[in-house]
C-alpha cells in the first residue's frame, strides 16, 4: 500500500524528519508515536505532499507519488485528517462535506454514509463550521476525508484535545474503518489506543525512527524505552 523509502523532509532548507522508511500494508493500521516536536506532523505533511520530500520516495500501491501535487494524491486514494480539528471555518458543515462530494458519482450517498457514521453532524448541516465544537469539527474532518473514498486514511492525533465521550466515538470509528478494509496511518500519543488499534508501530525521536515493529507482546515496553530520552 504505502511505502516510504529514505524520506527526508523539513522546512526551508532545514530537515526535520530524516531518512524514514515505513510501510503500511493493505488493510493494516500503522501507528506513529513520539514526543511533541518529534516530527510526526512533518512526516505526514510530506506523505500527502504539503511539504516537498528533500530526498527519498513515497509510493502508493507501487505508484511513485513523490512529486505529485496533494490534490492528485487524494485522487490516487490518500485521505488526510490534519492535526487540530481543521475545517473550512467560513463554510457550513454541510458545505464542508459537499465541497468534497461535488463532481463525484453518488456524492449524496457518500455524504449520507458519513452522516450515519457521525449522527451528531446531521442537525448541524447549516451551522458555520467554525462555530462547531472541537469534537464536532474533528468528526466533520474525518467525514470529509472519507467522502473521497480513500484506500489509505492518514490521521494526525485524531483525539487530541477532545472530550472523553467523543474520543470513544472517534476511536470506535477508526477501529470500524480498519475492520472494513481501509489502511490507516495513525499518529497517536495515547499508547493504549495506538497499540490496540495498530498492527505495526514506529516511534519517531528527533525526526528519526527510533523503534518499529509489530504491536504484539513486549511492544509497550519497547515503545516506552524508545520514547524515554
Amino acid at each position: 500500500m504505502l511505502t516510504l523509502r529514505n524520506l527526508t523532509c523539513g522546512y526551508g532548507r532545514t530537515p526535520v524528519v530524516h531518512d524514514v522508511n515505513l510501510d503500511v500494508g493493505t488493510d493494516q493500521v500503522v501507528a506513529v508515536m513520539g514526543h511533541n516536536g518529534a516530527g510526526k506532523t512533518t512526516l505526514l505533511r510530506a506523505v500527502v505532499g504539503l511539504l516537498p520530500a528533500m530526498t527519498g520516495t513515497i509510493e502508493l500501491d507501487g505508484r511513485d507519488l513523490t512529486r505529485t501535487p496533494t490534490h492528485r494524491r487524494i485522487a490516487h486514494g490518500m485521505a488526510y485528517v490534519p492535526q487540530g480539528q481543521q475545517c473550512f471555518a467560513h463554510l457550513t458543515a454541510g458545505e464542508n462535506l459537499r465541497l468534497v462530494a461535488d463532481g463525484r458519482k453518488h456524492g449524496k450517498t457518500l455524504i449520507d454514509e458519513q452522516l450515519d457514521r457521525f449522527p451528531a453532524l446531521r442537525p448541524l448541516q447549516n451551522r458555520q463550521a467554525g462555530l462547531l465544537s472541537g469534537g464536532q469539527r474533528q468528526q466533520l474532518a474525518i467525514a470529509r476525508a472519507l467522502i473521497t473514498e480513500p484506500r489509505l486514511l492518514i490521521l494526525d492525533e485524531p483525539t487530541e484535545g477532545i472530550q472523553p465521550n467523543v474520543v470513544a466515538e472517534i476511536e470506535a470509528a477508526i477501529v470500524d474503518l480498519a475492520r472494513s478494509g481501509l489502511s490507516v496511518l495513525l499518529v497517536e500519543q495515547h499508547l493504549g489506543f495506538a497499540l490496540q488499534a495498530a498492527a505495526q508501530y514506529a516511534v519517531l525521536r528527533s525526526g528519526r525512527v527510533a523503534s518499529h515493529g509489530a504491536t504484539g507482546a513486549g511492544a509497550r515496553e519497547r515503545v516506552r524505552e524508545a520514547m524515554a530520552i
Binding site: 500527502v48 504539503l50 501535487p69 487524494i74 490534519p82 481543521q86 463554510l91 465541497l99 470529509r144 473521497t148
Partner: protein, 294 residues
Amino acid sequence: MDLLVGQLFTGLSTGSILLLAALGLSLTFGQMGVINMAHGEFIMAGCYTAYVVQQIAGDAGVSLLIALPLGFAVGGAMGLVLEALLIRHLYHRPLDTLLVTFGVGLILQQVARDVFGAPAVNVSVPPALRGGVDLLGVTVPKTRLFIMGLAIVAVTAVALVLRFTPAGRRIRAVVGNRDLAETAGISSRAVDAGTFFIGSGLAGVAGVALTLIGSTSPTTGQSYLVDAFLVVVAGGLGRIKGAVVAAVALGATQAVFETYSTASLAKVGVFIVIVVFLQLRPQGLFTLRTRSLA
C-alpha cells in the same frame, strides 16, 4: 425634495459605477489577496472591446449586447494570461506583484495608444438608452439606470455563484485554507486561475458599461483603479456585501461633497472619510466571524 432625490440618485449611480469597477477586484484582491495594478487596464480593455465591436457591428444596440459578454471574455482572457505568466509565481510576494502588475498596466496602456491612438474615442449609446426618465420629479439619464441595473445583476450573479455553486464553494475553500483545500482534492492552482478569470472578466464588463457614460482613452481604466481598491478595502476584504455598501456610501459621499465644492475637492473629502473610517475600523465594514482560526 428634488435636490435630495437628485443627490440620492447621483450617489447611487456613482456608487454602482464604482461597484462595477470594484467587483472583480473584490475577488482578485479581496478574496485572493493579489494586488493587481493592471485591473484598471482590464477595464480599459473592456472599453475598447465595446469600441471595436461597434466599429464592426455598426448598430449601437446590437453591439452593446455583443460587447458585454465579449468584454467579459477579453478581460478574463487577459487575466488568465497574467495569472499564468506572472502572478502565479509571485503569490505571497505582494510588493513584487504590485510592481510587476503596475508595469504590465503601463505596457497595456502603451499598446492601447499604439493601436487606437492617444486621443479619446467614443462609443455611441443605443437609441433605447438615450434621454432620460422622470423619477420622483427628477430626470434621470437612462444610461445611468442601465448601469445600476447591470451592477445589481453582476453583484447578484457573483454572490449566487460564490454561495451556491460547486465552483463557488471551491473558491471559498481555497481562500479559507489553501492546504486544507488541496487535501480535500481541490486543485488550488486551477481555482486561482478560475477566480482570476472571473475577476478580470468583470473588469471587462465594467469597461463596456463605462463607454455609455464617457469617452475611452488609454488611461480610462487607471482613473478607476484607486477608487476600486478603496471600495474593496473599506467594505472589508472579501466581503461582497461590504463592497456594495462601501460603493454606495462612497458614491453618496462624493455626490454630497460635489454639490458643495468641486469634483477634485470631493475626492479629497472621500479620501479623508475613508482614512478616518479605517482608523476606527481597520477590518472594514464587514468581517468574517468564526470561532476557530483554522
